[in-house]
């Protein structure tokens, strides 16, 4: 069994990424729970979109932007908090922090574009997620923060968000939009743009846009400095990445893309977790042979069972094959760990079920720093 314990012990920030629907949120919560239950570390799991059942499993309703404590068994040495990302609230906090004065702050918060841009601007959510992580890390309240990122398509955006934010503020368009109105409108070079924009959008809307960017640009230096800091945490030595996939063709193909994206950015993939793998014994020849014998017999009910069993056998074989080929790809000493979680039927009803799930990928954890009586396992 591959053990992620050393990886968890040697990092204080972990990004969990992967395609949509493979169980990233569950895996993140399970890892965080395991650490909180078996060490004395203070752990935070930040999730972007918790499924209702997960919140139930952790025994809480996550709301707003602030971390909430998860109830753990009484003698647990560690602590576990969970937080959800509220994009709007986090943006408001950012404006509060960086706006030079009250007037700018109020005008920005009241600008009709502010709401749409902060809620819908492609970059907004990803950047704010990173920003929030940075803030939580700086606060020093936690020894380990596990971030459940948005699905695959946006995972790469998260990685690039700080850079894009820096680029955005230094772009020609923003510079142009924020020069004084008189010189802009008379500049010959910009006339076709102005004409077109006004014909397309109407003059009032263009004025809103210009006002919005002018206000935003007053916060530029604070924003840009901050974005640079945020970018640095991605590359910090105690930051690691965990990719989650299922052994199905679609997610596996996306995983290869994700691995490449991380590699190109020089970001370390610490582990690769293959979730929902059908048990090895289903892939064994013993099942196949037994099914063949049943088929040759004359019990109709058992024969129908054998037809189903053979179907499952084929699926299990393709799962084992997928895991084997991932292992093959990662054989070097500095390759990511490859771990698997078996497919389970049924809901994750409570923290015990989550911990059971984690037990497949985290076996031993370093002893807690403070002595305590053993519980669980």
């Amino acid at each position: 069994v591959t053990d992620l314990a050393p990886l968890l012990a040697s990092h204080d920030l972990m990004f969990v990424c992967g395609p949509g629907g493979v169980g990233k949120t569950t895996t993140s919560a399970a890892l965080a729970l395991r650490v909180a239950l078996t060490t004395d570390r203070r752990v935070l799991v930040v999730t972007v979109d918790p499924a209702r059942r997960l919140a139930d499993a952790l025994g809480l309703r996550i709301q707003g932007n602030d971390p909430i404590g998860v109830r753990l068994p009484r003698r647990s040495a560690g602590r576990l908090d969970a937080a959800m990302l509220d994009t709007r609230a986090a943006w408001d906090a950012l404006v509060m922090r960086h706006a030079p004065d009250k007037r700018v702050r109020e005008r920005l918060l009241a600008n009709p574009l502010y709401t749409t841009v902060t809620e819908r601007f492609g970059l907004s959510h990803e950047y704010i997620a990173m920003e929030r992580v940075h803030e939580l890390r700086q606060a020093g309240t936690y020894d380990l923060i596990i971030v459940d990122t948005a699905p695959m398509a946006n995972a790469v955006d998260v990685l690039d968000a700080p850079d894009r934010m820096i680029d955005f503020f230094s772009s020609r368009l923003v510079r142009w939009l924020t020069v004084p109105a008189g010189s802009r409108l008379t500049a010959a070079a910009s006339r076709p743009f102005t004409t077109m924009a006004e014909r397309l959008l109407g003059a009032g809307f263009l004025a809103d846009i210009i006002d919005f960017f002018s206000l935003l640009s007053t916060m530029e230096s604070g924003f840009a400095r901050r974005a640079t800091e945020v970018k640095e945490i991605l590359h910090a030595a105690d930051t690691t990445f965990v990719a989650v996939t299922t052994p199905e063709a679609g997610p596996l193909a996306q995983m290869i893309v994700l691995e490449g994206a991380l590699r190109r950015r020089g970001l370390p993939l610490g582990a690769l977790v293959v979730n929902r793998v059908l048990a090895e014994n289903l892939a064994s020849d013993k099942l196949r042979d037994e099914a063949a014998r049943v088929m040759a017999g004359n019990d109709r009910l058992q024969q129908r069972a054998a037809v189903g069993a053979l179907e499952l056998h084929e699926r299990a074989k393709s799962h084992q094959h997928a895991v084997a080929s991932i292992r093959e790809r990662h054989q070097l000493p500095d390759s990511p760990l490859v771990a698997t979680i078996p497919l389970r039927v049924g809901a994750l009803a409570d923290t015990a079920a989550l911990d059971e799930l984690a037990s497949h990928i985290v076996t031993r954890l370093p002893r807690p720093r403070t002595p305590r009586t053993d519980r669980q396992d």
Binding site: P19, G20, G21, V22, A51, R52, R53, L113, T116, V117, R120, F121, G122, L123, P151, M152, A153, F168, S171, R172, L173, V174, P192, F193, T195, M196, A197, R199, L200, L201, G202, F205, I209, F213, G250, P251, N281, L282, K286, L287, E290, A291, R293, V294, G297, D299, L301, Q302, R304, A305, A306, G308, A309, E311, L312, E314, R315, S318, V345, G346
Partner: protein, 312 residues
């Protein structure tokens, strides 16, 4: 699901459920049954090429010449909507500004405008789609739309702009676009899901949002149906399932493994059925089976054959 009379179908769903595959299957099935069809890629992901057997797609619709089912008679067309090209076409057709040369520096910064000014990207995409519906002479236009998270803004942007812009050419454009988009009988949204918990939840939430929006504003693109993709075929009858459970409590020595495996299959199926029970009951459903194998073209072929049976 009554899809036969629609002339515009948006296909959306949670990421990873097989949206593109289903969109391609719907388009190819319609083309194979004699309709002139356009399949549009709205997110420039490049995923459509794989399911059509072509190396690339252009902004201007062109007939698919590969030998996949539905393409043979030259009735299947496809395009990939590029917002920049869409803007050029729009400016040229409707604003009559002297374009190309003067647009070039603007096109470079369009990316920023499009991300910053809400709705620009969406309106250019949906504008191109409506333009093709209006002028392309197609019997059916299928849009491989963005995932549920982003589809709502695509589907509502025309009305948002229509309501926000008091007068002028843009409002005029949105008026005829809305006639196409909100045509109850001929336009529709198909939401693709798999029988797993998260996609089902997301599908239900998306449909609720769409319906709330329609209730609030009085108009909107109607939900045409839900496609349940990758449902593992039911290998047993319900009676069998009950018998297996009995058998599993005292498995015969010669079939221990077989009975345990069959039991697991029944449990997996039960879980899928329970998840699907959470879908809104009043939306028509279309079920597509799980197709094994990793050949995208063959998967769509199998789904086309399946749709042929389901829709005829």
């Amino acid at each position: 699901v009554n899809l036969q009379e629609r002339r515009l179908i948006f296909v959306t769903g949670k990421g990873g459920v097989g949206k593109t595959t289903v969109a391609a299957a719907l388009a190819r099935q319609a083309a194979a049954s004699g309709r002139k069809v356009l399949l549009c890629e709205a997110d420039r992901s490049g995923a459509l090429c794989r399911v059509l057997g072509v190396p690339s797609l252009a902004f201007d619709p062109s007939p698919i010449r590969s030998n996949v089912v539905g393409a043979a008679a030259g009735r299947l067309h496809a395009c990939s909507i590029d917002t920049e090209a869409s803007l050029r076409q729009y400016v040229k057709l409707y604003l009559r500004l002297p374009v190309i040369t003067k647009l070039t520096p603007i096109a470079k910064t369009l990316d920023f405008v499009a991300t910053a000014a809400p709705g620009v990207r969406e309106i250019l995409t949906v504008g191109k789609v409506c333009h093709e519906v209006r002028t392309g002479g197609y019997d059916l236009v299928v849009v491989d739309a963005p995932s549920t998270g982003h589809a709502l803004s695509l589907l509502t942007v025309a009305r948002t702009i229509h309501d926000a812009v008091p007068a002028g050419p843009l409002r005029g454009q949105t008026t005829w676009m809305l006639d196409i988009l909100n045509d109850e009988a001929r336009a529709g949204v198909v939401v693709v899901t798999t029988p797993e918990e998260l996609p089902v939840t997301e599908t239900t939430e998306f449909i609720t949002k769409m319906r709330d929006d329609i209730a609030r504003s009085g108009t909107g693109t109607p939900i045409a149906g839900i496609v349940i993709n990758r449902l593992v075929a039911e290998p047993f009858t319900r009676t069998d399932a009950v018998r297996f459970a009995a058998l599993a409590s005292a498995p015969p020595a010669e079939a221990v493994r077989v009975v345990a495996a069959a039991q697991l299959l029944v449990e997996l199926r039960d879980l899928a059925v329970a998840n699907l029970g959470l879908l809104p009951a009043d939306v028509p459903q279309l079920v597509l089976p799980e197709i094994h194998g990793d050949n995208a073209l063959a998967t769509v072929d199998a789904l086309v054959a399946h749709l042929d049976q389901e829709l005829s």
